[in-house]
């Protein structure tokens, strides 16, 4: 649960920025960037997890230098669970943010420029408030996805009781070891928490209309 909250806190600003860039800026390799960043949405989580292990493992392209410098490795830590959740839930935020930004009436943005405002002011005062419904929808989707993240987390963070066993992983362990009563309790709790969250998100969005 904490993992999903932390991951979402990172996903929202990053996904929003990426969505904005993809929607508003024509740059070389835009479609390629969109495709690569969206891949975790369609790849099996184990494949995403495998890539993450290759990149962030002790001998990985990113994990290697970090290990050499600090002696620390992200694998099998709670940060790894956050990283895995971040990578798989980011596309939801980015995709919905891009669509939300693309649907903002361009004349509102033009009007802001003619009134003497910079792009940054325009983004915060006009574009984001106008796109807020889509952005909130993206954030709730991303959070829901992060909450249910299983495969990539298992690959990168392992399933270490007390450290990296997120709720979905714990449920898997209970079921695998035949501890049905614990599994039932956690499943029920998880379903209720997710349902409550989705209900709150829908309510909240309705109020903004």
């Amino acid at each position: 649960m904490q993992v999903a909250v932390i991951a979402t806190c990172i996903v929202v600003p990053v996904g929003t920025t990426l969505g904005y860039l993809l929607a508003r800026k024509a740059f070389r390799g835009r479609d390629l960037a969109d495709t690569v960043l969206t891949l975790p949405l369609v790849l099996p989580p184990t494949v995403t997890g495998y890539y993450l292990v290759i990149l962030f493992g002790r001998n990985g392209a990113i994990g290697g230098p970090i290990h050499d410098l600090t002696g620390w490795n992200v694998m099998f830590t709670w940060q790894a669970a956050v990283l895995a959740s971040f990578v798989v839930s980011m596309p939801f935020m980015m995709k919905t943010a891009r669509a939300a930004f693309e649907s903002v009436d361009h004349r509102l943005i033009d009007a802001s420029y003619t009134l003497g405002h910079s792009e940054l002011i325009t983004v915060f005062r006009v574009t984001i408030p106008t796109a807020r419904k889509g952005l909130l929808a993206g954030a709730s989707l991303a959070f829901a996805r992060a909450l249910g993240e299983f495969g990539a987390t298992l690959m990168l963070a392992g399933n270490i009781p007390g450290r990296t066993n997120t709720a979905p992983l714990a449920i898997y362990s209970y079921a695998a070891s035949g501890d049905w009563s614990s599994a039932n309790g956690l499943v029920l709790l998880f379903t209720m928490a997710s349902g409550l969250f989705l209900y709150a998100a829908t309510k909240f969005r309705g109020r903004l209309v």
């Binding site: 004349r107 509102l108 033009d110 802001s112 420029y113 003619t114 009134l115 003497g116 910079s118």
Partner: protein, 245 residues
């Protein structure tokens, strides 16, 4: 005071190729829809760049393809009233007008007017454009005529170099149009600002314009005063456009 420009632009098979100058009064760009009038306004405002050309407003060079000058939209200081007014939906009437004072709003970092000065200025404009009583309303809650006055107030509050109006009456019901035309004539006098009005309705040209520039298919086909054009229309096309023939 005034505008002089030459513009060349090809976009999606449409070709704009115009050259004209206008003084400090109210100039109407008149012609059918799709003749390049709105595109011309966008280029003056810097929302679109011509492929080739030069734009000068009140002696300031905005754009020159030869020397590579292209002043950013936000530094051009032109008031632009969009066809459907483009009021910011989540801002009240008051906030929309105040948003026109880029310098000094508390959301900008540039120093300028204090927020009490901004409030004072906004309330002046609210009185001037008869918007008292709806300051706290949102754009969707007010009438078309009121929306247009908010857009005008917002465009003029920063004292722009010029004011551009894109089909400002087309979204209004007929009885309101007369009144709205009077509002524009008054505003122009009060703010002493050159105005460019885009329209396809010759009655608006007759009521408001000092000079007329007639557009057709991306070209200028005639320029002159309203009298010139009524008395001596250059060709059948203009006769049919103005309804004189």
């Amino acid at each position: 005071m005034g505008v002089s420009l030459s513009l060349k632009k090809e976009i999606n098979g449409f070709e704009l190729d115009v050259e004209w100058a206008a003084g400090g009064g109210l100039t109407a760009l008149f012609g059918f829809s799709g003749s390049g009038k709105t595109m011309t306004l966008q280029m003056i405002a810097g929302l679109m760049d011509p492929d080739q050309g030069r734009i000068e407003v009140n002696g300031r060079l905005f754009f020159d393809s030869r020397s590579g000058v292209s002043v950013k939209t936000r530094h051009r200081r032109v008031g632009y009233v969009f066809q459907d007014y483009a009021l910011i939906p989540h801002m009240t009437v008051e906030q929309n007008i105040g948003f026109g004072l880029a310098r000094g709003s508390r959301y900008t970092w540039s120093s300028g007017m204090s927020s009490s000065d901004v409030r004072e200025r906004v309330s002046e404009l609210i009185d001037q454009f008869s918007l008292s009583g709806i300051e706290k309303s949102y754009p969707r809650e007010i009438s078309g005529g009121q929306r247009q006055r908010v857009a005008l107030a917002r465009a003029l509050i920063g004292h722009p170099e010029m004011l551009m109006l894109d089909e400002p009456f087309s979204a209004l019901d007929l009885p309101v149009r007369r009144q709205a035309q009077a509002v524009i004539a008054e505003a122009r006098e009060a703010f002493d600002v050159p105005v460019i009005l885009v329209t396809h309705d010759f009655s608006e040209v007759r009521n408001l314009a000092d000079e007329v520039i007639v557009y057709s298919a991306g070209r200028v086909v005639q320029t002159g005063t309203v009298e010139n054009i009524v008395e001596d229309p250059a060709g059948e096309l203009i006769k049919s456009l103005t309804g004189i023939g």
